[in-house]
Amino acid sequence: MDWVANLGQQVIRSVSRMGAAALFFLQAVVGAVKCLPRFHLVIQQLYSIGVLTMLIILVSGLFVGMVLGLQGYYQLVNFSAESSLGLVVALFLVRELGPVLSALLFAGRAGSALTAEIGLMKATEQISAMEMMAVDPMQRVIGPRLIAGIIAMPLLAAMMSAVGVIGGYLIGHVQFGVDSGVYWSSMQSGVDLYDDILNGVIKSVVFGFIVTWVALFEGYNATPTSEGVSRATTRTVVTSSLAVLGVDFILTALMFGGL
């Protein structure tokens, strides 16, 4: 019967952890609101979370767009529909790949860095020192990072989509000779501002929130040892990536019908 006890223990631990994450969420949101008047703290974090993640997003976006261009062209040309290449590439990127892939890369690059940074701040007693200086870490450390993550994510997703569209154009026009005007005009006529672009933006805001929340929670609750920080960093990437994919399914079903 040990397995029953172990299972029960796991369930209790998971529920307790979810409760702690929910409490942390509330404290982080309050901290984020209170830190708004000191927006320079958010700007500092926007640099380390957003600007430093740009390179991997831009390079990945270019290759993803080029692959979409190749795959899209090979399929569309069978139906003499290569004139729709621009539309296909844009819809894939704006609706799905832009927000989801950039969120996964964001989790790997910025999420892990956030967890490691906060975990090490805890291990080296910097968080305790702030508390003893009557400085609330939720306002000074967590809040600015949460806001920066929520702002950075849609911008990064937009960059990935934009660069991906250019990648698709390079393959479609330069490699396969799809007419330039047709490529852009099919996109212009087929992509809807609200149904496609706005939904993509909403997705990326939600993903930014999820990844940053998970990363900050894991860092703040990491065991203050090198092994503890390492495990927390791994958990951040795994948990936030799975959460992004799961929430993406729900959001897609809600936004584009089906549920």
Partner: protein, 241 residues
């Protein structure tokens, strides 16, 4: 346990006896399961909030790891509490920071980053940061650990001088007998989750109490046993798992 105002009180005890935990209680970072803690006659609030933070503005703390903010320079680390807690103009902040850095002898190191400081220097910067708001009480968590003799002498001198010149109340947690006795006005010795002895350094050094004597003389065996509790030795050796 009473920490007298204006004095240097040293809390000693073997590793793991709860000395640093006690500082956690004093500062309201940890909650005692029993008993209560009062600071300046007022109970330390049990919940994090405005009241606790207001009380902490009168406390300074020097952490064992120095706990300097690694992304800020020495100057910015010392200025940090002033920027967070006051609306002072930059010119005044500059004067205050340079005054505190001068007190710890590191005015010339203001532009350095924590990563390029030695252990002793980092602790002096943390000390400057801890006193920059002129607190009523300052707590030192193992301030002598890992320091060379010169740095240790500097920290000893600073703790005593700052206490006397600024009229501070100092609480020093340490297991270093010589340094602790050299600096203390009064000593509390902890062991097994309770106060095993207290008195002036002379009283403690000449105490007849077995636990106090074992600790103060550094005897390897006594009331605190050398061996961690275990099964009978020969039986353990002969056991086949």
């Amino acid at each position: 346990m009473i920490i007298p105002r204006g004095k240097v009180t040293v809390i000693m005890g073997p590793s793991g006896c709860g000395k640093s935990t006690l500082l956690g209680f004093f500062g309201g970072r940890l909650l005692p399961q029993k008993g209560s803690v009062k600071f300046d006659g007022q109970p330390v609030p049990r919940k994090r909030g405005v009241a606790l933070y207001k009380m902490r503005r009168n406390m300074g703390m020097l952490f064992q790891s120095s706990a300097l903010l690694t992304d800020l320079s020495v100057y910015e680390n010392v200025a940090f509490p002033l920027r967070e807690q006051t609306d002072l103009p930059e010119q005044i902040i500059r004067i205050l920071v340079l005054m505190k850095l001068e007190m710890v002898g590191l005015r010339g190191a203001r532009d350095m980053l924590p990563s390029s400081l030695s252990g002793g220097m980092a602790r002096r910067v943390a000390l400057a940061r801890a006193i920059v708001l002129d607190p009523a009480m300052i707590m030192y968590d193992e301030p002598f650990v890992g320091l060379d003799p010169i740095s240790m002498g500097v920290i000893l001198k600073l703790i005593r001088e700052l206490n006397d010149t600024l009229g501070l109340t100092s609480v020093v947690v340490t297991h270093d007998i010589h340094e602790g006795c050299a600096i203390a006005d009064y000593i509390y010795l902890l062991g097994g989750g309770k106060v095993t002895g207290h008195g002036t350094p002379d009283q403690m050094l000449n105490s007849d109490h077995a636990e106090v004597r074992q600790f103060m003389k550094g005897q390897p065996d006594g009331p605190v046993h050398f061996h961690y509790p275990a099964d009978e030795y020969l039986a353990d050796l002969g056991r086949v798992d």
